[in-house]
């Protein structure tokens, strides 16, 4: 699975305003609602589900990256977006570091394989430090889009 298969370009946020865990999740879900990828009526329920998942264990997987996610019946296919916090946010990461780079995913409950393949793609690309660094330094959503495209074309993974 490629970034282009699940990242909604209109919902990319290169400068997250949020400065705590819950508001990052809120801001990114709001971006997907605004881009009409998630129903407005489900906004709160999706935010709550993602927070509940975080309570089971942080999705801050290290290297300043987190993948907050949930399964939710309101989507028929996996949708996701990317957010960058310039200053970083305390996300109770596994390695204790602040998180600057967020991939938020909402997937249909009956498609665990798609969710796994999105995580696979994200983690495969993030193993490349250059990609990781460029993303965190990206100045606008257009630049993020470009980096994701390059990653999709295997320009980072050796």
């Amino acid at each position: 699975m490629k970034f282009a298969d699940f990242v909604c370009l209109q919902a990319i946020r290169s400068h997250l305003e949020a400065d705590d865990k819950e508001s990052v999740i809120r801001e990114m879900v709001a971006a997907l609602v605004e881009a009409r990828k998630l129903p407005e009526a489900e906004h709160e329920s999706i935010v709550k589900a993602i927070i509940k998942r975080e309570e089971l264990g942080s999705t801050g997987i290290g290297k300043g990256v987190a993948v907050p996610h949930t399964k939710h019946p309101s989507v028929e296919k996996l949708v996701g977006t990317v957010g960058i916090s310039v200053d970083g946010v305390d996300f109770n990461s596994l390695d204790g570091e602040k998180v600057q780079l967020f991939f938020l995913l909402v997937s249909p409950p009956d498609r665990p394989g798609d969710h796994l393949r999105a995580l696979e793609n994200i983690s495969r690309q993030l193993r490349d430090d250059t990609f990781c660094k460029f993303l965190k330094q990206a100045r606008g959503s257009e630049e993020i889009h470009q980096l994701l495209e390059e990653a999709d074309n295997n320009q980072f993974v050796s």
Partner: protein, 102 residues
């Protein structure tokens, strides 16, 4: 040199596969051991102590994995890790409950 190097074949049984939380658990358990841990799925082989590595395997239910361990506690490490996978990552059940899906 002279350290045991063992492998064991396991099958992923939990319905959600090796998603973020099982991967986190796996890595936590692996890191309790001194042995070098590797996990292979037939296509690639990753560091068993790296969550990014484990997630890269995208191991779904039914996937066969080969666990490898090298070091003085290799045997214990494989026991612990194989048990974790074969018992379906106990906490995976909790997630099912919160999702209300089967």
């Amino acid at each position: 040199m002279g350290e045991p190097s063992l492998t064991r074949r396991v099958t992923v049984v939990n319905t959600q596969g090796l998603h973020a939380r099982p991967a986190d658990l796996f890595v936590r358990v692996a890191n309790r051991f001194a042995a070098r841990i590797e996990v292979a799925n037939g296509r690639e082989c990753v560091d068993g102590k790296s969550i990014l590595g484990i997630l890269t395997l995208a191991a779904e239910q039914g996937t066969q994995l080969v666990l490898g361990a090298t070091g003085h506690d290799a045997h214990d490490a494989l026991d612990a890790l194989a048990r974790l996978i074969e018992q379906g990552f106990v906490t995976d059940e909790a997630e099912h409950a919160t999702e209300g899906t089967g």
